[in-house]
Amino acid sequence: MDTFLQQVINGLTAGSVYAVVALGYTMVYGIIQLINFAHGEVVMIGAMVAFTVINALAPAGLPPLAVVLIGTACAVPVCMLVGYSMERLAYRPLRGAPRLAPLITAIGVSIILQHLALMIWSRNVLAFPQIIASRTYFIAGAAITTVQIAILAICVGLMGGLALLVYRTRLGTAMRATAQNPQVAGLMGIDVNRVIAATFVIGAALGAVAGVLFGTYYGLAQYTMGSVLGLKAFSAAVLGGIGNIPGAMLGGVLLGLVEALGAGYIGDFTDLCQYGWLSGAIDACEGGGQFILAGSNYQDVFAFIVLILVLVFRPSGLLGERVGERA
């Protein structure tokens, strides 16, 4: 039971970060139907900038929380700028072009960002300095650290804030209108280009915070961290139904849970020695040995298998609307 609860806690923490990154994908997709492949790299840049600042300030003797906050406060504007300029330079000129063209520029931007980071920070891993004295609490035998609690709280806060922005403000209304129909939204007096740019900037800001959280959770940041994180977050967005904001949140949390539980239990399930009729046939089982088919190194597979299964039965994601054939 405690393994279960422990994996749920770990899964929720990672999943909530996936969810925040997934929001960046889904918001952009909802508005201009573009898979912004470079979003993962924006997240990475956020983490790298923040870690550089945090490492520089760590010996200064400021309170740890203030150091992390200053680091994040530096990362967010940098990422917003990156998000804005990539929309302006690489995507806006391609409105109305064949659908795959912006996908290729997104790939190009992603390569550029990754190698810019490599140029600035080299291949080294930036470690998170040991400044936060993390405390561990126990709930029914499962451990939860202060860092995990903070990550969960911040992610819930960000998602709540975004939901307020999208459903309660003028900008949010304009974003939803543009997502439904850009032409008509334009006729209603909405500056569509400005709304799209704002979407990119908000997504990038969320990504920056998510990058800091992810880096803090695992204690390190590196120029390659964006691609794997981006891939999982994108899967999460699709799982929930891409373009759908609550869907991205649900998808992210679900993906994190599946991954953690899968990694926690697969070894037990695929130990062939526990199945009586098989154990006789396998030499390794004698004397209480194990014959494990697949261990936790398959962790990354679960995310994709669940994704494929969900899409087979619900082709437009969990919360996605059934889009007409010619939307």
Binding site: I104, T105, Q114, F304
Partner: protein, 358 residues
Amino acid sequence: MKQYFNAKGKPWLVWIGFALVGVVLAVLPFALAQVGTSWVRITNYAILYVLLALGLNIVVGFAGLLDLGYIAFYAVGAYTYALLASPHLNIHLPFWVILPIGAGIAALFGALLGAPTLKLRGDYLAIVTLGFGEIVRIFLNNLSQPVNLTNGPQGIARIDPFQLNGFSFGTYEKFIGLEFSGPIKYYYLLLVVALAIILVNVRLQNSRIGRAWEAIREDEIAARSMGINTRNLKLLAFAMGASFGGVAGGMFSAIQGFISPESFVLVESIMVVSMVVLGGMGNIAGVVLGALLLSFVPEILRWTVEPAQRALFGRMLVDPEVIRMLLFGLALVLIMLFRPAGLLPSAVRRRELAERAP
């Protein structure tokens, strides 16, 4: 092909053109060997990418199904060859037995991927194929336990080269005064395979199947109501594209002599997609051009960036590998900004763009 030469009424001009291209292609490896054997190898890998891009073009360009996990089929072909022709399992079958097996297994995997994804469209399909590619790679990485099938991240080494009646493609030989190194022999083999696959593609494009794919790409519902069996044809597109990837993978395995999961990462899939889109989806000449460009440009940059830096600043300021990739990313963005339909757009795309322009 004729549209590129404007040789209407002058068929002899076309033949002269073909003959010229043929002579250039035949002499090319010897000219490159003068510069350095590595360039022959680079050319061989470029031709492998041409094979991959042509295979993917069937799925993406003809049938309009965005596949971001195409490299998985390449991996399946490569591992099939490696397992059946290496000391790893101590099986040594001849290549003409393995290549069809590899193509068949890859086609099976293609259908396996295609079957559950028939209902998906657009970007949902893209992410599922992407996930499929990652799943295959993770399995290759981990199938060393409990039974050592793929040897995990260490990969499989000492893979047999192609051999035919005692003639080995891996060895150096002197023949009628010309020096044939291993890469040069493979070059000719690859060239023949590439030409065969180009021919298959050209014939396919204008066949009943090719037109059906085009109809599905343009409007699936309309295609179905015209009596096209969309399910079978989509599966066929996946299987056929995959089998090309499988053949290319087998050849890669033999040429390289060593494979590991490192060679089949997501970036490779994305690279092949970029080749197809950059060159011009659905246009065979465009796809070949895209594949050649994207394989040669990074190599040329590799050879020019370092001397250029020394000449400009007198020393190495930035790692040339970084600059190379930066320029590469920039090139992708710029080409798409100025030619959104690719360098050589297919006829349909050209028409669409012309219609859209006011």
